[in-house]
Subunit: 358 residues, 4 copies
């Protein structure tokens, strides 16, 4: 349903055009310093900016903390957070309500619930992720302060333009945010940007891939067998709108390797063991091994496009759909903080569970 996590647990609510979207976060450790400012940063990174790649909507998205904090400290009780939906404009979508948009959720929601939000994407809208990001910011603050954990995502491909030229050990969010496409390889970034602009000018859209690295995880996170670290990351990432794939470490490319190449030999690293290669992606047997955890997430091209589409309405009558409204031609730049958020939520939950064994 709309809850995620076992001990660090979030419950989100809100559609694209209701009074507000938000989240209840249960299991936040007590006595953490926390204010709205700690949360607003990632919300701002998620918000469509005024740049040439984003949409034109002006979403202030100021978060309000409703509970769980007193005198700037968490109480250990649930933290409720709310972001008002200021810019609703349901009129923009009115004409679409009789025609299920191709590769959108209109038809499946209608079939599942016997009703679907007449305006916008309802619960399947990317706007639902605001509650996640607000919760993820708390998780990240905790993980950073307690373990020095760093989570950084970047755009590693758009359409056919990809980069492998990013240093996972050092990449920072500042570098990622250095350009609108959020790809720290500037040569690749330029090609990616051109691709997005071309797609938008063609009233079309384009997909892409986000790579994310999580550094400084303690050894031992992940619960055999169904809540393996990579299994929870996979669920978390595939729960995001527009995602079609997940791979950790060597991923699909690893299937082409021999075991003798793929295995990560152990070496002594300080007081612990480490590995000299990291095809495993920081996870062995579903449990973090102390090496960086890295993974990739595939996003399909935005389903909402301005080009005319031949389709049928709910009654089966053929029709032509031409989307109006404001839409990103490529979602991956804005999805960066959302991917980081889901990683943080997974890790925070597994950290809490592992504390039981201490």
């Amino acid at each position: 349903m709309s809850s995620f996590g076992r001990m660090f647990r979030i419950s989100t609510f809100g559609e694209s055009h209701c009074p507000g979207v938000g989240v209840v976060v249960d299991g936040v450790p007590p006595r953490m310093k926390l204010s709205a400012a700690d949360i607003q940063g990632q919300l701002d990174r998620r918000r469509p900016g005024g740049n040439k790649l984003g949409t034109k909507r002006n979403e202030a998205d100021q978060v309000q903390i409703l509970s769980g904090i007193e005198n700037g400290l968490t109480l250990g009780t649930p933290i409720g957070m709310l972001v008002n939906n200021k810019d609703q404009r349901p009129g923009d979508y009115g004409s679409m309500s009789q025609v299920p948009r191709p590769s959108h959720a209109d038809y499946t929601y209608q079939s599942k619930y016997g009703i679907h939000a007449a305006s916008g994407g309802g619960r399947s809208s990317a706007r639902e992720t605001i509650g996640r990001v607000a919760a993820g910011a708390i998780a990240e603050k905790y993980l950073s302060e307690q373990y020095g954990i760093e989570i950084v995502a970047w755009v590693s491909s758009v359409g056919n333009h990809a980069t492998d030229n990013v240093n996972m050990d050092t990449i920072s969010r500042t570098e990622v945010d250095g350009n609108d496409i959020r790809c720290p390889d500037l040569t690749a970034a330029e090609k990616m940007t051109a691709e997005v602009v071309a797609a938008r000018e063609a009233k079309d859209s384009v997909g892409g891939i986000i790579t994310c690295v999580c550094r400084n995880l303690p050894v031992g996170l992940g619960e055999p067998v169904f809540d393996r670290l990579e299994a929870k990351l996979a669920q978390a990432m595939l729960s995001l709108p527009a995602t079609k794939g997940f791979e950790i470490g060597s991923g699909f490319a690893g299937t082409k390797m021999r075991g003798s190449q793929h295995n990560d030999p152990f070496v002594k690293k300080g007081a612990n063991l480490g590995t000299s290669t990291n095809n495993s992606g920081g996870v062995q047997g579903g449990i973090s091994n102390g090496e960086p955890v890295y993974f990739r997430v595939a996003f399909k091209p935005t389903a909402t496009i301005g080009i005319e589409q031949k389709t049928v309405d709910f009654s089966g009558e053929e029709t032509i759909l031409e989307a109006k409204g404001r839409h990103d031609a490529c979602v991956v730049p804005r999805a960066i903080p959302i991917v980081e958020t889901m990683a943080a939520l997974v890790i925070a939950d597994l950290v809490m569970i592992q504390k039981m064994r201490n």
Copy 2:
């Protein structure tokens, strides 16, 4: 932990070398005809055979139903099932207990729990999947009888040898089982087989990909937002030993497409709507749309190899590891029923949940 599913819920137990492995299945509908024979089939498909590709272990793996059935009918109460571990031979693994095997779970389990099974893979062993497969067979029987749902997986690549030449609409398990490598494209199967044989002869191993299709799913399965159908499938697949990636529908390749190519236009299909293409993989907004659900799972090369590996022991001392015992040079043929099982468990759970809305 070791439970999966919300309403059709399994809890597995058992290591590779304890008295037995098994499962408790809660939420099985009452009044289903069910006997051990219904379950044994998939267990037999999972078992290493005597063929040239499998291991030499003779695991009878006869399932015993402990509870939940009377006079051949389910009671609606939990079904306990047990498979004895007959062939334990802990001695084979003895020499390995001081050396964490590269890309195995020895080191991470030891770090997490302060102890690890001295013999075999313990809980991270593929033997743990027996309980899943036994439970999955019940799920499959239910889905087949109630909805005509068909779930078929096959090997779509081994190393660099792949096939796209399988008809998703008609492929059957009989066809898949037509050869040892379980690839219904015979030309590809031959190359794959040669690849596995070559790897084994080199005391090495090789990875591969399994593709799975689920046909005849009713529209409406999948729970927004965290329990989307593809999110639960991703978790399920990445919870399997040796998996490194998951993609649904167009997957990673879809990131290279434009929206106008990728979108699946709606068309009238009988009384309902369908789509003329299926890049979505049968899922829109996380909910099944009535088209076939298909996905791919990446398996890394088997970590246990006969080739000498330079690594360190638990104390950090350099050593050479040379695996003994019996191991598959490629896991994908045997993983076929396990992938099917996890798909069945996900779908059965979502079917139960969706029944609430009827």
Copy 3:
């Protein structure tokens, strides 16, 4: 934690003196007519009135629906609800922050979390129940419309004054609300009222018992073995502040009976079976049998009293505590809608789960 229910699931948030209290309700069936007015009724019944028995606080407690509804119909998505905390007055409690109030949660919260809300009861305040009541109102509306289920609670004792003279088959909320003490037996009500007034005049408090009946439950609600109907009701009731006991049907008195007296013989009732007596309280083997479900909940005397109390502060120094602020001398009249709410939440959840078997 702060969530309750498996399929009809609520997550509450909010302390007594933060910006607001509220709830997220997941699993509400789609296409229900629902507006704030449907929810406000029970909130108003819960609110301290201006009568001689209640406290003087003016809590408007107007609920705002944040999500999950469009054009007056539920979408099947989570319903977020918020009630602002208008009257915070933290100053009233300031002097108490160094002295844990006897039989309050100050000491245990401080020990558990290393911090406690400096003002009011924080999360252990009765104000937390607002979110529950808002959610319960939705559950009740659903149960009433779909099954004709009626849930009515009343005060059956205050101190030593009790009544057994209430007809469970016909008692209505209108009758219950006929007097401030909410006891429909007017003779007993008068004595109870005098008892509360006497306690308050003595700057003291007094306990009481609430009896609740749930009529028209379908046969078959309740999940063996840990989620028996009476087990979930017991958890629900004991999760309410100030509760010390729960009994269903014959309860503790039933322990004094012989089996031949206590057993409820089956009789034909229309198309189904019923029982000629109802010592079972409508539940057999943890599952509803179609007879009225009734139970009793014990509430201790309010812990906050004006009388001087000799106690120690957090450092162990002896001190005298004299509560200021506004407090009910007896909680049971106001707890009536809260008991009903928790019963509704339990039943709604079990109804959803049982639908799986249809």
Copy 4:
């Protein structure tokens, strides 16, 4: 369903007359010494003995540990346990299958599932509790070794014969087991025994109350708001067959007290605070306060009696039911270890959860 606990989690299976009953225990801490002998003790206390009060069935009930242990140490993985059903004798119950036994679960199971175990109580049988007791023994061992926690239950009333003359601070299981009725007040025990014998000779049955004390709990156990310690205890106890009531601390009697009498003043006790009285029953705001936790559980008279009962069969036809087979005239002596088990399971789970905050 059939699982209980969040982090120390059990899943039970088995009916009265299937091959076996058992449990999977997930979340057991690793590196605990554990053998079947640690578990057999409570199973033996639960087993009907050959004494004059128990039934005549010879149930060996030897537990077999199936998984989760290697070389006498827990691995941190799920522990599967099985007890075979040796003495099935379904014939004894054959005549009852067309007549739902009054105050048994036959009718409600049949209505809920459309099927019910034709022999014995099926899943509602007391035999289901074997799995719980096996799991509880592990929980108790852990709590005892880590915290010195002691859990002792005794029979505090049978029919009208009760005792308050038991010292909660010192009572031990050895004392409780000093007589067959398991009441350490010998004068009361004699009367209780006579009551049970009289009931049995009359082919009837009688109810009773069990009191349980849990000593040495650390401060801070219990999760606001729905998983309060007393709420989980209440659920746990009401999930036991034949229970009708639960009260903690002052319980229903506390409703008759004034707040000034009922409040437990704080006093300095060593380095911590304690209370000079314990009407709270060791719990404030749902969280343990370091004082002994004590509660009482009401058990109805055994439903199965030899006296003829006038009732109707499933079709509604009037009939006379005369139970054959072997049944306890009073369940409370045998329920002692079951009550202790459920308390241990609740406490172990809350201990694990509280460890997150350390």
